[in-house]
Subunit: 225 residues, 2 copies
Amino acid sequence: MSYNLLLVEDDVDLASTVIDYLALEKIYCDHASNGMLAIELLQQHQFDVVILDINMPHMDGISVCKKMRELGLTTPVIMLTARDTLEDKLAGFNAGTDDYLVKPFAMLELVARIQVLAKRISGQTSKLSLYGVELNFTAKSAYRNNRKLSLTPTGLSILEILMRKANNVISRQQLIQNIWGDFSPESNSLKVHLFKLRQQLNQNGAPELIHTVPGQGFIFKSKND
Amino acid sequence: MSYNLLLVEDDVDLASTVIDYLALEKIYCDHASNGMLAIELLQQHQFDVVILDINMPHMDGISVCKKMRELGLTTPVIMLTARDTLEDKLAGFNAGTDDYLVKPFAMLELVARIQVLAKRISGQTSKLSLYGVELNFTAKSAYRNNRKLSLTPTGLSILEILMRKANNVISRQQLIQNIWGDFSPESNSLKVHLFKLRQQLNQNGAPELIHTVPGQGFIFKSKND
DNA sequence: GTCAAAATTAACCTTGCGTTAACCCAAGTT
DNA sequence: AACTTGGGTTAACGCAAGGTTAATTTTGAC
């Protein structure tokens, strides 16, 4: 998995050290040497995470973060700083940062924290694993408790739709829309697909995961409570 | 905004210190003294964030977190620990934690980090919570004191209408208008719906929340005001 | 063109929501 | 006291939504 970052850091040497290291981890990193530029780039491109140095001339990291949030930019932010007093940290969180890392830090810790944030945002994984159900997109296969399910393409896509919105009710209409697009079968096709999908999922008495919410739709979750 | 946390910590004294402090911040915190119990509680209830001590007998925090993720529990985790080596941290992130805080830590920092994680969740699930009644729009379900109510679509929408205008009287006409639009049933349908809704809300002697204002309509409020 | 897999259809069964009507109760009116 | 009015409670019914099964059509690989 490769991520797309923005590093905001006025110290060019430090910046290139970080960028080079992250490149080894397949994390690609744009660089902005000041806050103004950062805001501009953020408005033009989509980043997974922003790494923000606090101590910068002109516009410091706190202000950049505040400005971002004011502009409605919700990209996760990790603040980097040498200052580790509680006051500084609170100022950071107050400005809307998601994480706060004190220099000197280990690159591996930065990478770990980047991954946590990036994973949350981009649901773009090739595998989806939830409640013992594993969905492998590249292999187009699904497992429950390590037992392979035999699903048809539509069965698989129904499962995917439900799992991606786990714990959310999906209406019949939404399902139909997502599977068939604007025009769809006229009869109980969906019902049959759902039935067969559940049949596969619930082999040997495994608990139901696709719950019906009468009059509302279906929901993928562990227990019906 | 009030959050609902689970603290997993075997040291009961420390636990109650944390819980008491968080209570001041309007953060309500259940307590599990061991990993097993934590997993069980997590499967039964919906928490915004889990605070997980790493160093516990029997099942340590790392294992608890791993187990959670295996089970598909995506609740954000903050690990608390006295161990601050890079290895320990990486083990934590590898197990699927969202944040890692080294003891001793400032309560205010913990609170700040809780809020960051909780906010991210609350952005994903839209809820309305009032007087112990929780309305989850994404799951289209309602709870009172964590007990699930079985409501029909109309029941749910009546509850929603009343809760959105809590402490205001809603006339019958307004209710009918909002539920059925311009043309509506001719008989006592609304009465029956209301009756069934109250029946669900007031199970095991819970105090009435939907009060009748004779000749005016209905009002959602707690008794003592 | 054949064949198997997948999708759709139709028919039927089961569940449960919404509506209705009928009845109950208390308070106010005549 | 009988009647009216606003509201609460209950049971019954019809119908739509959902689930199940089998048969038929479509698709796509060979």
